[in-house]
Amino acid sequence: MRSGISVTTNPPEESETPSEVSTEAEAAEVSGFPDATALAERVAELAGADSWSADFGNAKVRIDQSRWVEAITDVRDGAGLHFFSFLSAVDWSNEVAVGEPLEETVEERYEILVRLSSARNNDAVTLSTDISKTDPRLPTLVGVFGGANWHEREASEMFGIEFEGHPNLSNLYLTDEFEGHPLRKSYPLLSREIKPWPGMVDVEDMPSTENTEGAAAAAVDASETEDES
C-alpha cells in the first residue's frame, strides 16, 4: 500500500498562545472558547483597522469599506490565513418582518462577514465591514479568494448587495424571475404570514418561566424540565 498516511505534528508557526494575559485566559477557560485576543490584535494591525473584538473566542476585526480588498489580502498573506471559510452578511435592521426585533436600536446597515482560517493551526478570524442600506455595494473578493465567487453570489441574491467587479453576479439558488432578497429582515416569510406556526408555542412565554421554577415547573411536562431540582 502507498504510504500516504502521516501523523501531523502541527508545527506552530509563531508563538501566538497568549500566556501573558492570564486574566483573559482564565475568563476564556470558563466559557470554553479559546482566547482570541492576541490573534485579533495582530490581524487588526495587519489590516490597518482600529476596531477589533475577541468575545466568545471570535476574533473579529472591523475593516473600513474603502480598504476591504487590500486589507483582506494583507491579512491573508501576513497572518497565513489562506483558508477561505465563508462570506456572508447580516442585516442590522430596527424593523423586522420575521423573528424577534432587536432590543436596542442599531444603526441600519448590512454587515459583510468573511471568515478566514489557517490550515496549520486553529487560528481563525472574522473580518467585517459595514455598508449602507441605501446603496449596498462592495468590491469583489474573487481576485483574492476564488471561493468568494459563489459566496458573493449567494449574498448578492439573498441581501441584494452589489459586488463590484464580480464576473457573474447572477442568482445562485433562486430563479432569475425571483423578486426580492429573502434574507433581508424586511422580507416576510410568506408561509408564516398565511398560517401562524404551531411551533411558536415554545417561543411564547410559558406561564411559570424564570420567576417561579419550583411547583409550577413540576406540573409541566417532566421531559422538558430538569426534574432533579
Partner: protein, 398 residues
C-alpha cells in the same frame, strides 16, 4: 449528439483528417438535474469541444430550503431538527457544531458521558458517510459489486445509530447541554445504566471489526483494480493552494496534501483523548480522494474502538435553564464533518431565537471548485470528479 461528419475526414486517413477533427464545433450538453451521478439534483451546463470540457457552469439551488431564514423564526432547540437534514448522509454530525456553539455561549459544561456518546456517534456517522462514498464511487465508474458490499456493512452502522437515537438518518439526538435519553432509556438525569441500549458497546466493537474487514475488502476489490486506477489516477488534480482559496475542506483538502483536520485543532469534542492519524494524499487526484476516505474509515473505527473501551459514567445532560436564551454576542463554531468543515455563525441578541444564523456547509465550498476543476477534462472524467468530491446537494443548497 451527432455532429455531421465531414466527408473529407471519413475519406482520408491522413493529417488532414486529424486537423479537421480538431475543429469540432462547440457543443453544449446538459448533465442533470436528474442524473444518478449528481447525488441529488445538480445540473451542469458543459460546453464541449469534442470530448474536452471547455467550460462548465454548475446550476444549483434545486434543493434550496431556506434554512437560514427558517432559523430566524425558530428557537435554538428547534433548529436541531432542521440541521439534521442539511447533509442527510451524516445527519448526526450536523448537530454538533450548533450545539457546541450554543453551549459555549451559554457557558454550559457538557458532561463527559454525553461528550463521549456524541463523539462515538459522530465517528459512526463518518463511517456511514464514507461507506456511502465507497459504495457509490466505484459504481459510477462502472463497478457494481462494491456497492453491495459497502452498503451491507453500512447497515450495521446505521443499526447502531438507530439503536441509540431511534433514527437512522435524522437522529435529532442532541440537546443543548448534552444528549437525549436513549430510546428505551429513562429520564435525562436518572437511570444511567440504560442510556445506551443493552449490548451497544459489544455490538459496536464487533461492527468496528467488520469495518476494518470491509476496508480490506475494498482494497482487494477496488483500490488495486487496474480499470479503477486508470479512471482515477492523475485525473482532476486539485492543487493545495487552490483548494484552500476555494474553501475546499475535509477529505478533499487532505487528498491534496494539506494535513488539516479540525478534530486535531478544535476541541469541540474530546478527540485529544484518542489516538488517530490525519490521513493525507500526495497528488490531489481522484484516486487520492478515494484513498483518503478509505483510510479515514479505518481511523474512525480506531477512534470508536478506543472510545467504547472507556465511556465515562455520569449524567447525560448538564443543568440548563428551562428556556434557552443565548447571551448577546457572535461566535462561530466549526467541526470536522465527514464532508469537511461545517460551522455555524450565530448572531444572538440575547433572545431565544437567533438574530442571524449563517450555516457554513462543506459541500457548498467543495463544489464551488467545479468550474475550475472540470476545465480541460474529458467527458467521462466529469463523473470521476463529481463522484470523488463526495457532495450531497442538501449540504450544498441548505
Amino acid at each position: 449528439m451527432s455532429q455531421t461528419l465531414d466527408p473529407r475526414a471519413a475519406a482520408h486517413v491522413s493529417e488532414v483528417a486529424v486537423s479537421v477533427e480538431l475543429q469540432t464545433p462547440g457543443m453544449t450538453i446538459n448533465l442533470g438535474p436528474q442524473h444518478p451521478s449528481t447525488h441529488g439534483v445538480l445540473r451542469l451546463v458543459a460546453e464541449l469541444d469534442g470530448e474536452r470540457v471547455v467550460n462548465v457552469e454548475p446550476v444549483i439551488g434545486y434543493m434550496h430550503r431556506g434554512y437560514e431564514k427558517l432559523s430566524e423564526v425558530r428557537t435554538y432547540p428547534q433548529i436541531t431538527a432542521l440541521v439534521n437534514r442539511i447533509d442527510w448522509v451524516s445527519g448526526f454530525a450536523n448537530e454538533i457544531p450548533l450545539m457546541v456553539a450554543v453551549e459555549r455561549l451559554m457557558e454550559i459544561e457538557v458532561p463527559a458521558r454525553a461528550q463521549a456518546i456524541r463523539l462515538i456517534l459522530t465517528e459512526l456517522a463518518r463511517i456511514s458517510n464514507h461507506l456511502v462514498f465507497l459504495s457509490s464511487y466505484p459504481l459510477e465508474l462502472g463497478a457494481s459489486t462494491p456497492l453491495m458490499h459497502a452498503l451491507r456493512e453500512r447497515e450495521h452502522v446505521l443499526e447502531l445509530i438507530e439503536g441509540v437515537t431511534g433514527g437512522r438518518f435524522h437522529p435529532n439526538f442532541n440537546r443543548i447541554g448534552g444528549v437525549k435519553p436513549a430510546a428505551g432509556g429513562g429520564s435525562t438525569q436518572k437511570k444511567l445504566a440504560q442510556d445506551l441500549p443493552q449490548g451497544f458497546l459489544s455490538e459496536t466493537a464487533a461492527a468496528m471489526d467488520r469495518m476494518l474487514a470491509i476496508c480490506d475488502d475494498m482494497d482487494t476489490l477496488v483500490t488495486g483494480n487496474e480499470i479503477f486506477q486508470a479512471r482515477t489516477k492523475g485525473v482532476a488534480v486539485v492543487p493545495p493552494d487552490l483548494a484552500l482559496a476555494y474553501g475546499v475542506s475535509g477529505p478533499n483538502l487532505r487528498a491534496s496534501g494539506v494535513a488539516f483536520d479540525l478534530r486535531e485543532h478544535e476541541d469541540y469534542l474530546p478527540y485529544d483523548k484518542y489516538e488517530f492519524d490525519v490521513v493525507t494524499g500526495e497528488n490531489g487526484d481522484c484516486f487520492d480522494r478515494y484513498q483518503v476516505r478509505l483510510e479515514e474509515v479505518r481511523q474512525a473505527a480506531r477512534i470508536v474502538s478506543q472510545a467504547i473501551a472507556d465511556v465515562p459514567s455520569g449524567p447525560l445532560q448538564a443543568k440548563v435553564p428551562r428556556v434557552i436564551k443565548v447571551p448577546k454576542g457572535e461566535t462561530y463554531v466549526r467541526a470536522e464533518n465527514p464532508k469537511g468543515e461545517m460551522g455555524y455563525y450565530i448572531v444572538s441578541d440575547g433572545g431565544r431565537i437567533p438574530y442571524r444564523l449563517k450555516i457554513r456547509s462543506a459541500s457548498f465550498s467543495n463544489l464551488s471548485i467545479l468550474p475550475w476543476a472540470l476545465k480541460g477534462l474529458l467527458v467521462p472524467d466529469i463523473i470521476a470528479l463529481l463522484g470523488s468530491l463526495d457532495f450531497v446537494l442538501g449540504d450544498v443548497d441548505r
